[in-house]
């Protein structure tokens, strides 16, 4: 090998620590970009693969009981590719020996080996199909409880008898809403088991897939309406709820979109950060090589030869970083994907990264450093020999000419080491600008993530104001309001009660098509059991006729629901027109429409109520839980079939859980990006100190003790950290505002923006600690060098 190439490798090897630092700096950039983009790509692809392979329904009817004959007619209907019937029932149960009542949504199929729509797949050694007395739980149940095979679920039948179900394994159903989002688990049982639970062995739910794979949402709605009339209404069967999701769109699609957008935005930021980091590091390396460039030119090296020498050096750094960063990024993306898959309840069959992600990673590792190095290499190599040889061996920081220098120079009364640190900081202005850019961006991202979290917390707090009650109880069938309220009136802890009627309703559009069913909730317009946040228009008022208020979820799905618009709703087969008088913030609980309970009741022939809300005497979460158990026990004793019971704190926890997914993603990204910033600072401080080795020698020769030297460099690091923190704090405001807007747009919920002063303060502490620590190690090493060697340092 020629001496010049040997020099490259020897330089890399002899400055092992510096090499490691540079490689690590580039590798962390590759890692950040790779993890973010890789996760996004694998997530999107695998989610899509899993969702498509589930053969998701275009329409699902929740109806009165029907038989096999209706299923055959459905299958034979034109334009229907597949039909799948099942029975769904909601029961309350106690897990192992627990005294807590929980809700379980049970599903039963006739033939578990031939589920054609919304496919359910057994996981591992699950008993499939589940035997009599067994239940196979949807795998997401494990997110809310440590369920295991062999666990016993004691289900309470409507007649008060208890039936034990043994957990026989787990199954995956991407179309089942994950337990942590809805507050109940889903389980699969046989018809025999359902019979043991007192359920009729017939179907009550039909899911259809249309033959047209590219069907529009509007056409799907129209077709769903026509089929409802043909299949159900012509037979006198009532369809309580029709679900027509946007074709090809999963119900968690909004959250997924938000996560994906966030990942993309952070990926771009990570790319920018790593580019800054690389430019910074390579500039420093080149500054250190200036004298050697002079020597080589003095013995005959041409600029082109030296260009190649340093391009090769940078390429070696890049290649080493790619070798480290690529597998690390793949592992990171895999971990992140698994994390997301568990939360969003989908299966990952392949972690294969798209080629373009690998290309981007390699570009970050090789091309960005080379581009970053181009300027410094050119400047260093084209420097005249005499200037290169007379350079201090390092970057030539000029101090004293600029206004800032003179201001710093004029400051009196500072301890000498502090004054030196301040002036040193501003000596290498180009380096300072690069370091500050990197750290400012990292600071802005970290503080922004904090602000996004604050905004989410504030939004949850706002949304919580909806629930001005402590317990809500849902019933399987409409009940007499007076009887229900009388039943619980004397339960200890009950202060006030109110009853609501909830039914499924669809919007009949002007072209005759329908949307998927919304929940239509009838309540007292003067109810004090809810605290709506009115986004537009007003809330219900006593005396309103035909007035409805819609939530933001409903407006997102059906934009025609504007304040002032007159809308036709099909409510349980009865059509009536209503006027939208207001829009309120939703609680991510799905689209809902609110109206006067009296008017809704009279429209449907006064069927009764389906929900009881209770205000307790003690708002404490434990007291709420006790109240819930007491009320539910009393109702069950009274023969009422409860399908769901929730406390206010449980509902708000669920809300936090849903939005918390986004926060969790953001926090992971923030940690990653701040790691880039920290390594950048460490690298810069290390190189700054190395460059000052000769200065340290001079200081020690003139009597400076180790402590003084540490003080100088640690102060310099802290000054840099503090400036970056201040600039990052300012930049974080527009950045966090943008991130919050992206999120709000994606999840379809206006978020209440909150700037995180806690984040600003916390990051200041972290930044000062990190920048101080990043300077100590190199200052220590530099101080250990003998005065003679330090002065001769190159």
């Amino acid at each position: 090998m020629r001496p010049r190439w040997r020099k490259v490798f020897r330089d890399l090897f002899s400055h092992r620590f510096r090499t490691m630092l540079v490689v690590l700096s580039i590798a962390i950039g590759i890692f950040a970009v790779g993890v973010v983009l890789g996760t996004r790509e694998v997530l999107v692809r695998e989610f899509d693969v899993d969702y498509r392979s589930s053969f998701a329904a275009n329409v699902t009817y929740f109806s009165e009981d029907f038989d096999e004959d209706l299923v055959r007619r459905a299958e034979a209907s034109p334009g229907v590719a597949a039909a799948q019937a099942r029975r769904s029932a909601t029961v309350r149960y106690r897990w192992n020996g627990s005294a807590e009542d929980r809700t379980l949504s049970l599903e039963a199929f006739r033939d578990y080996d031939d589920i054609r729509v919304d496919k359910v797949v057994p996981v591992g050694n699950a008993q499939w199909p589940p035997g009599r007395g067994e239940v196979v739980l949807e795998a997401a149940a494990k997110q809310v409880g440590d369920y295991a095979v062999g666990d016993v679920l004691r289900v309470e039948r409507a007649d008060g008898e208890t039936v034990e179900l043994r957990v026989a394994g787990f199954a995956h159903d991407i179309n089942a809403v994950p337990a942590q989002f809805v507050g109940y688990e889903t389980g699969y049982v046989s018809f025999d088991t359902l019979g043991d639970l007192g359920e009729e062995p017939v179907y009550n739910r039909l899911s259809l897939v249309f033959a047209d794979e590219d069907i529009s949402w509007g056409d799907a709605s129209r077709k769903a309406s026509a089929l409802r009339e043909d299949l159900f209404e012509s037979e006198g069967l009532l369809v309580r709820y029709t679900n027509v999701p946007e074709p090809g769109s999963h119900f968690l699609g909004d959250i997924f979109k938000a996560v994906s957008l966030l990942l993309l935005a952070l990926g771009v930021l990570a790319l920018g950060l790593s580019a800054f980091l690389v430019v910074n590091t390579i500039s420093a390396i080149m500054a250190q090589q200036v004298r050697q460039v002079g020597i080589m030119k003095a013995v005959g090296a041409s600029a082109l030869q030296l260009d190649w020498l340093y391009v090769f050096t940078v390429a070696v750094y890049g290649a080493a970083a790619v070798a480290v960063g690529l597998p690390a990024a793949a592992a990171g993306a895999r971990w992140f994907t698994d994390y997301a898959a568990e939360i969003l309840n989908f299966r990952v069959s392949s972690y294969w990264l798209p080629w373009w992600v690998v290309i981007v990673e390699i570009t970050v590792g090789l091309l960005v450093p080379l581009l970053a190095a181009a300027g410094p290499i050119r400047r260093g190599v084209r420097m005249s020999v005499v200037r290169a040889l007379n350079a201090s061996g390092m970057s030539e920081g000029k101090f004293g000419n600029r206004l800032a220098d003179r201001v710093l120079g004029a400051i009196r009364g500072l301890p000498r080491p502090v004054a030196l640190s301040l002036r040193n900081t501003f000596r290498r202005k180009g380096r300072l600008a690069l370091t500050l850019s990197t750290l400012t961006l990292a600071s802005a991202v970290v503080i922004s993530v904090w602000s996004v979290q604050t905004s989410i917390e504030r939004t949850v707090d706002d949304l919580e104001s909806w629930w001005q009650y402590n317990v809500q109880i849902s019933f399987a069938l409409p009940l007499d309001a007076g009887a229900v309220e009388a039943e619980v009136a004397d339960v200890a802890g009950v202060a006030e009660t109110e009853t609501w009627l909830g039914v499924g309703a669809t919007v009949i559009r002007s072209d005759g098509s329908e949307n998927e069913s919304f929940s239509m909730v009838g309540m007292d317009p003067a109810s004090e059991f809810v605290g709506p946040i009115v986004v537009e228009g007003r809330w219900l008022e006593p005396g309103d006729t035909d007035a409805v208020v819609v939530n933001t979820d409903a407006q997102n799905e059906e934009p025609s629901l504007r304040v002032g618009s007159v809308v036709t709703f099909d409510v349980q087969g009865v059509r009536d027109t209503w006027k939208v008088v207001g829009v309120v913030k939703g609680q991510l609980g799905g689209p809902a429409v609110f109206c006067d309970a009296g008017q809704l009741g009279s429209l449907l022939g006064n069927p009764g109520i389906t929900r009881l809300v209770v205000r307790g005497t003690d708002p404490d979460p434990d007291a709420e839980q006790a109240l819930l158990e007491a009320v539910e026990d009393r109702l069950v004793e009274g023969g009422y079939q409860v399908t769901n019971a929730r406390t206010r704190s449980g509902l708000s926890d669920q809300l936090r859980e849903q939005l918390g997914i986004l926060v969790a993603f953001l926090v992971i990204m923030a940690v990653l990006l701040s790691a880039v910033g920290v390594i950048g600072l460490t690298g810069t401080m290390t190189i700054n100190v190395l460059e000052s080795t000769r200065e340290i020698g001079v200081m020690r020769a003139t009597g400076a003790q180790h402590r003084s030297i540490y003080q100088i460099f640690v102060t310099e690091g802290i000054v840099v950290g503090a400036i970056a923190w201040a600039a990052g704090s300012v930049l974080s405001y527009p950045l966090s505002l943008g991130l919050v807007r992206i999120l709000a747009e994606a999840i379809g919920l206006p978020l209440s923006y909150g700037f995180s002063w806690v984040g600003v303060a916390a990051w200041l502490g972290m930044m000062l600690a990190i920048s101080g620590m990043a300077s100590i190690a190199p200052a220590f090493r530099a101080s250990q060098v003998s005065v003679r060697d330090a002065i001769a340092y190159e």
Partner: protein, 256 residues
């Protein structure tokens, strides 16, 4: 110390200089001016210097610190550019060459020796000597190592060939730097205070080495502030305030 083995061709190599007739100067400097922009007041380091150097001469440039002697030698090596005036070496107008052309020209025609040796710290002594041959592509690959070893042998460093510079004493490093300067067999050797960082015994050895090279027709231009050494060179030029104020020619060449 005796340097007896000069079986390496260190004779008058260099493309342009070799072709100069013996009665013509190999270095011709005319009205050379160098002004440094040091801020508010420009500093004139050379004030219209004229100088001719002939092949095989051993020239000493002496003067106090800041007199302009290093600036003058930097003009000859092309390490620095003049503000005005001409530096012609052989038939090459060095003052008119760009940095890139200068590097190549210098590698072939002028061996540079620095006060602080300036060996590349991560290359062994042998590799440092090989480096100019590598950059200038002189000598076939298979001849380079034997030649470098012969040069190190000549400066009595063959046994140190595979050591890094940091492992050598100052005198050894300077001898290695001289071997490196001779790697491409340049006709001219320019040394800036080559003994300035050495003890007197080692300095004497290095000076002796230069005398042997002059005997073998190398042209040596050496900057020094050591009047004793200056008295032993063929021509001594005294520089003060950017001008050659005195020139002494010693008839008897010292042979060590």
């Amino acid at each position: 110390m005796g340097i007896t083995i000069w079986d390496v061709n260190i004779g008058c190599g260099g493309d342009a200089v070799a072709a100069v007739p013996s009665d013509m100067p190999v270095v011709r400097i005319r009205d050379l001016v160098k002004v440094y922009d040091t801020g508010e007041v420009p500093f004139t380091a050379l004030k219209g210097v004229d100088l001719d150097v002939y092949s095989g001469e051993f020239i000493g440039i002496i003067g106090k610190s800041g007199s302009g002697k290093t600036t003058l030698i930097n003009m000859i090596t092309g390490i620095d550019h003049p503000t005005s005036g001409e530096v012609v070496i052989g038939d090459t107008p060095v003052h008119a060459l760009g940095e890139n052309a200068l590097a190549k020209w210098r590698g072939l025609n002028v061996g540079v020796v620095f006060q602080f040796f300036q060996l590349l710290p991560t290359l062994t002594i042998l590799e440092n000597v090989l480096l100019p041959m590598d950059f200038c592509s002189t000598y076939p690959m298979r001849e380079r190592v034997p030649r470098a070893m012969a040069l190190l042998e000549a400066v009595e460093l063959a046994d140190q060939a595979n050591k890094l510079p940091a492992a050598l004493s100052g005198g050894q490093q300077q001898r290695a730097a001289i071997a490196r300067a001779l790697a491409n067999d340049p006709p001219i050797l320019a040394a800036d205070e080559p003994t300035g960082n050495l003890d007197s015994k080692t300095a004497e050895a290095v000076f002796g080495l230069f005398e042997r090279l002059v005997e073998q027709h190398k042209t040596i231009i050496m900057v020094t502030h050591d009047n004793d050494l200056a008295s032993r060179v063929r021509r001594a030029l005294h520089v003060a305030d950017g001008e050659i104020i005195e020139e002494r020619v010693h008839r008897e060449r010292h042979t060590g």
